[in-house]
């Protein structure tokens, strides 16, 4: 706890807040001195999870979405939590191209993007109770490798 910096944001599940959520998380991430690429990765992953809460979990009704971010050393961790409809089959939901809303032009690539841009993702969900997406990313990996190699 001593060396962990933490923040939580709670906001209405309105599409206009998608931008707010990813900028707030990126502002918190700044203290790790991330590259532009790392910031873009984190913003994209959070945008995916938040969009899913808005359209899938709450079906466009306005309820709360909660994001918890923590920084320990160079590890950035983020949780995105909703109390929406939940996911029946998590394994299937995470398959690339799988979507339950093709009529809204969803690409089914949300979880695939989260997996691609973060180091680790885990999804906890129960039908009718909501979903918790936890993601992690180590910031400055390239710099580390570079430093080690240059010794």
């Amino acid at each position: 706890m001593r060396d962990t910096n933490e923040m939580t944001i709670i906001f209405d599940s309105r599409p206009v807040n998608e931008g707010f959520a990813r900028v707030a998380a990126a502002a918190f991430l700044t203290q790790l001195n991330p590259t532009i690429e790392e910031v873009a990765d984190v913003k994209t992953a959070i945008s995916e999870a938040v969009t899913n809460a808005i359209i899938h979990a709450y079906g466009n009704e306005v309820h709360n979405i909660e994001i918890h971010c923590s920084i320990t050393g160079n590890l950035f961790q983020v949780e995105v939590k909703d109390q929406g409809i939940g996911i029946e089959d998590i394994k299937q939901a995470m398959e690339p191209l799988f979507t339950t809303k093709p009529e809204e032009d969803r690409a089914g690539m949300g979880f695939a993007f989260m997996e691609a841009f973060m180091d680790h993702i885990s999804v906890q969900s129960r039908a009718g109770e909501g979903t918790l997406v936890t993601m992690e990313k180590r910031i400055g990996k390239e710099r580390e490798t570079w430093t080690t190699q240059s010794l």
């Binding site: 931008g19 873009a40 994209t44 969803r106 695939a112 993007f113």
Partner: protein, 104 residues
């Protein structure tokens, strides 16, 4: 949405940030323009785009399906490194070609 129509070409200038919030309006407006103006070539211009998530990919895939039915094509221009990564990752480069200005 910023766009330009020349004959049966529609160029859509994508905004700085493409997410679900602004993708909604884009797909509706693009579909109207495509069907009302006999569009056969749709060009997504990413010149201004700094952020794009999978909602943007959904817009591209949906427009591809429509253009494909109409016998048309979808192209991308001004694709930077980040956008190229996202387009590659999502597999849309199999249905949409990138127009490389350097080679033109």
């Amino acid at each position: 949405m910023n766009y330009k129509i020349q004959e049966n070409y529609l160029t859509v200038y994508l905004p700085k940030e493409v997410d679900h919030y602004n993708a909604e309006e884009m797909r509706k407006e693009a579909d109207l323009l495509i069907t009302h103006n006999h569009i056969r070539y749709l060009i997504f211009d990413f010149g201004e785009t700094e952020f794009c998530d999978s909602s943007g990919i959904g817009v591209i895939m949906g427009r591809y399906r429509l253009l494909n039915l109409l016998g048309g094509e979808v192209w991308a221009v001004h694709v930077g490194a980040r956008m190229r990564k996202i387009l590659t990752l999502s597999g849309v480069l199999n249905i949409m070609k990138i127009y490389e200005e350097e080679r033109a």
